[in-house]
Amino acid sequence: MIGIVDYGMGNLFSVSKALERMNVPYIISDNKEQLAHAEALILPGVGAFRDAMKLLNETGLASFITEQVQKGKPILGICLGMQLLFEESEENGLHKGLGLLNGRAVHFSGKDQDGSSYKVPHMGWNKLDFHKQSPLTEELKEDHVYFVHSYYITEHERDTLIASADYFGEVPAVVGKEKVFGMQFHPEKSGDLGVKLLQNYTRYVKSMEVLK
């Protein structure tokens, strides 16, 4: 069973429907005991970094997630949920994240190398470039996925980058280190490839259980 962390910010409906279509059991919960029973977590997120971290801290879900990850539970952060996995974000001033991955979220500058302006948010379908092997991208082909974000991850460790997209520079799109994963785009809104990426995560979770 997958535990979708409900902290009041996130497109929970779409993520849960995507799991339903794949016949993957899940719960949506803000209850730590319930989530502790899940084999893996999904941390969704739409909105602002500061508000999200505030809610996660107030509810104690931040320390709960960290503990669970230290115990070896897989987690997948989606969109803002991925950014929350990192050390900090500069959205609305500097704010600390969960610190499960090294790196920080910064705003797209909105100016290219020649000083011409480009559009922010990075919104729409962009193509993934795969960088290294990962259970998440296993047997998948590079294709387009749906992004909507104004901040992107930088200063990350090079070997955590599984896939990136090109938007006036390299934008980390799929990241992963040990059992901590993140997708900057919305797999639940990314057609076939998105479904397959989510499927690979749930398959990975299952394989982890078999190993136990």
Partner: protein, 252 residues
């Protein structure tokens, strides 16, 4: 780089898809969920649902339509039409819409854009603009209430104001071109796209594949919306995309 988006638009009235010409003469065009599924399969990058129901029951039906669409589709979609309050936005976004589109209500109360953007984030807030050329002022004028009421407002200025208030995208309909199938309004689209820092969806006038190429290259649109040519199968999304690819436009 980002792919240019092709967006079929479904005008929904009391739970059915309808389509008119220059906002009049409505014809039945099918079941919204069925059409949505078909467009997803054909490669639509996104969908827009405009709720043109007048009755309260029609509005309730719309929330069900949104939920059904969100349950079955894995592409983003926007819902617009008759959204007047933060509460309306909340209901539709909770039902599974990715974005809401504001038109008349945003013009009557521009602070609604800010309230929505502050609460849900700019990426959820689309501002739809219905614009028509006005010879007397030498530019495009904004209309409310589905193109019925002219305002003392100029389209480019309003687009900028909406973005300053927090609009994350502009859905721009040329009333002069709508339903005529003679191509998008390139001058209007270009003027707005160059004036704002957010993506612009061009709407009104799509008749053939070449029109899409033109609106992306000359019109500088980020996305293009069409209804009847797709509903009545005059062309398909695949056909439009194949043409765009040939012309060197980046599509999914």
């Amino acid at each position: 780089m980002l792919a240019k988006r092709i967006i079929p638009c479904l005008d929904v009235k009391e739970g059915r898809v309808v389509k008119g010409i220059q906002f009049l003469e409505l014809r039945d065009a099918g079941d919204p969920v069925e059409l949505a599924r078909a467009y997803d399969e054909q490669g639509a990058d996104e969908l827009v649902f405009l709720d043109i129901s007048a009755s309260h029951e029609g509005r309730e039906t719309m929330v069900d339509v949104v939920q059904d669409v969100a349950s079955e589709l894995a592409i983003p979609f926007t819902v617009g039409g008759g959204i007047k309050t933060l509460q309306d936005m909340k209901r539709l976004l909770r039902a599974g819409a990715d974005k809401v589109s504001l038109n008349t209500s945003a013009l009557l109360d521009p602070q609604l854009i800010k309230a929505g953007a502050d609460y849900f984030g700019s990426q959820c807030i689309v501002v739809a603009i219905d614009a028509k050329w006005d010879e007397s002022i030498g530019t495009w004028r904004v209309y409310t209430h589905g193109g019925r009421n002219p305002l003392d407002k100029e389209a480019v200025a309003w687009a900028k104001e909406a973005v300053d208030l927090g609009a994350g995208e502009i859905l721009l309909t040329s009333m002069d071109s709508d339903g005529e199938k003679k191509g998008f309004n390139i001058a209007l689209t270009k003027a707005i796209s160059e004036a704002v820092s957010v993506p612009v969806i061009a709407s009104g006038g799509a008749g053939q594949s070449e029109d899409f190429t033109e609106v992306f290259t000359d019109g500088k649109a980020d996305a293009a919306l069409a209804a009847s040519i797709f509903h009545y199968k005059e062309t398909s999304i695949a056909e439009v995309k194949a043409h765009l690819k040939e012309e060197g436009v980046n599509v999914r």
